[in-house]
């Protein structure tokens, strides 16, 4: 088709035409270069042995030593597996909830109730897991609220938080409890912009409210839903340290130890090994980024707008 030469020329012409954009994005680019890329040299710590008072490039070279140490550790892989499983649970069960909530919020006609519930459901986002662990302990512990309820109903007491079979589900459920309201905000904003004419047209065609939701609202916000999903996929290896750390315990280490908690445990009571923790960060980063780009490509193939 077009020769590469003329494509190049078009590109230049394009750039000339839109030169104000380059000026516009300059401050943001400057920000990223200064605050993100200037310190980026620190990444080489994953390949060098940390020495105080030495410039990074003079620290002893280790090559892939830290990485091989990491992947040789069976406990690490166990943590890796747990992280992936829990994140997948979260994606499967936790991801749709905020979308559903946003739909419900947009459908309800009682304004008072809508405002009230929306505000209330946003609240837990601001509570830290430190304090929530105490709350959930009171609710889910063996002498907690839920068990007291079970007792009243003549059902056997359960130890939810210490049961390896239920713990992962608990992680997802409590996380949904905490974040669904806040996460729904973005979808609500998206629904706001959906053109009402489409609803009118659909109603005239005889579509009921549910069908309207499913066939108009949902597809209209699919773009942002997909974008959020892709971003979540890129975060699979970063499952929330705080939550797991605060809620897990010896009986469930096997199923709940995630990468971050694993790192925390092995670096405790020793001199901090910066090289090692940097190596873990690089390892995760590579995989995370690959997952993100993969998800993005898939989304684009399916016809959605990706993240770039």
């Amino acid at each position: 088709m077009k020769s590469s030469h003329s494509r190049f020329q078009t590109a230049i012409a394009n750039a000339r035409k839109h030169y104000p954009i380059y000026i516009l994005v300059l401050p943001a680019l400057a920000f990223f270069i200064v605050f993100k890329y200037f310190p980026m040299y620190g990444i080489q710590l994953a390949f060098r042995e940390f020495r105080l008072y030495t410039p990074y490039h003079q620290m002893p070279w280790l090559g892939l030593e830290k990485f091989t140490a990491l992947v040789a550790e069976p406990e690490f892989w166990s943590a890796f597996r747990n992280t992936v499983i829990i994140s997948l649970y979260q994606l499967l069960f936790g991801f749709p909830v905020p979308v559903l909530l946003a739909l419900l919020f947009s459908e309800i006609r009682f304004h008072g109730i809508q405002r009230f519930t929306q505000t209330v459901l946003t609240f837990p986002h601001f509570l830290s897991w430190v304090i929530l662990s105490g709350v959930f302990f009171n609710v889910l512990g063996s002498s907690g609220f839920l068990n007291n309820l079970l007792e009243v109903m003549k059902l056997p007491r359960q130890n939810f938080l210490m049961n390896p079979k239920t713990f992962r589900s608990l992680l997802v459920l409590t996380n949904v409890w905490k974040e669904a309201g806040w996460d729904s905000i973005i979808y609500i904003a998206a629904i706001m912009g959906v053109d009402t004419e489409m609803y009118e047209a659909a109603a005239m065609d005889g579509a009921g409210r549910i069908r309207q939701s499913l066939h108009i609202t949902l597809p209209s916000i699919m773009g942002i839903v997909v974008v959020m999903f892709i971003l979540r996929v890129g975060n699979i290896l970063n499952y929330n340290f705080q939550q797991v750390f605060m809620l897990y315990s010896a009986p469930v280490y096997g199923v709940a130890d995630v990468i971050e908690t694993y790192i925390y445990r092995i670096t405790f009571a020793k001199a901090p090994d910066y090289s090692f923790s940097t190596a873990v960060g690089v390892f995760k980063g590579v995989i995370d980024m690959f997952l993100l780009l993969f998800a993005n490509t898939v989304a684009k193939r399916l016809g959605y707008r990706g993240i770039y």
């Binding site: 209330v120 509570l127 409890w177 053109d195 993240i307």
Partner: protein, 296 residues
């Protein structure tokens, strides 16, 4: 939020059974959320003895404001509120500008933008670490400077991606008609794009505001002057102080302070303002509706 309900004016205004069902579902979800929070509220308003007796306490008897007193008696709490308001006032426009400008740039298919996108995504997953960051801030002269709590926030790649997505859904006709009238790119950005994106701008603005409200990490790293401490940092220090109290239990000033009470009070003080503000922001979620079709 003034959405579909009001704008679908042609529909009957009568509530249907569907509405009642939805309301019931939402209300039960709210109850589920409210209950533990209410528990926290009660703990913050009562005494240690009461809480030891009944951990899942439902009524603040005896009533006591000692936990809140412990939080607010510290002059740095009020000071911290001012500092935090300051960094929000400066930071929100700062970050909004950086995010929206970059997002706008990324919507254009001009040379360099694809590369920029990749570079941005890389920063999501790779970072140089704490010590290079500290040294950079030192070089920039931001040690013990209030700006240290603002500048590093800049634009979040997450926000940029979302904004770009929303910008792309604004119909090209808007832009094209403006360009035909002689508007340059910057005009399009300022006069067309931004005003039409109010719901998403308010949303991202809220995210950014909350991030600044929660700021304590940069304060910890860089601020040594107590007058410049952010609210969250001060509240955290109070919590740490109280945790040390726990061992002996009593405060020497005569009030009995206990860590559960203070923790609850701190948490509520932290969360409440944002939650109170949020309903007021909801009305902005309506304006900016265009008459054209917006497909996200």
């Amino acid at each position: 939020m003034n959405t579909a309900a009001q704008t679908r004016s042609w529909r009957s205004q009568k509530a249907t059974w569907g509405d009642v069902l939805i309301a019931a579902a939402l209300l039960s979800a709210s109850l589920l959320v409210l209950f533990p929070i209410y528990n926290l509220l009660v703990i913050s308003l009562t005494t240690e003895v009461a809480v030891i007796r009944t951990p899942v306490i439902l009524f603040p008897a005896p009533f006591s404001l000692d936990s809140y007193w412990a939080v607010f008696r510290n002059p740095l709490v009020m000071n911290g509120i001012l500092v935090t308001f300051l960094i929000m006032a400066v930071g929100v426009p700062y970050s909004l500008f950086l995010s929206t400008s970059m997002a706008f740039g990324l919507t254009k298919n001009i040379p360099g933008m694809k590369l920029a996108a990749i570079l941005l995504i890389v920063t999501l997953y790779f970072s140089g670490g704490l010590i290079p960051y500290y040294l950079l801030m030192k070089k920039l002269g931001l040690i013990n400077n209030v700006l240290a709590m603002i500048l590093p926030y800049g634009a979040s790649v997450f926000d940029i991606i979302i904004l770009r997505n929303f910008f792309l859904s604004i119909p090209k006709e808007m832009e094209e008609s403006a360009t035909m009238d002689g508007a340059g790119d910057i005009m399009v950005y300022a006069r067309i794009l931004l005003p039409m994106s109010t719901p998403i701008l308010v949303t991202i603005g809220l995210f950014i505001a909350v991030a600044y409200w929660n700021e304590w990490w940069n304060c910890l790293l860089f601020i040594s002057d107590s007058r410049k401490q952010s609210l969250q940092y001060v509240l955290r220090s109070i919590l740490m102080e109280v945790n040390q109290l726990q061992a002996v239990g009593d405060d020497t000033t005569g009030r009995i302070l206990y860590s559960e009470g203070i923790k609850s009070a701190v948490v509520l003080v932290t969360a409440l303002p944002v939650v109170i503000l949020y309903p007021f922001l909801q009305k902005y979620f309506v304006r900016g509706l265009s008459s054209g079709a917006l497909k996200f």
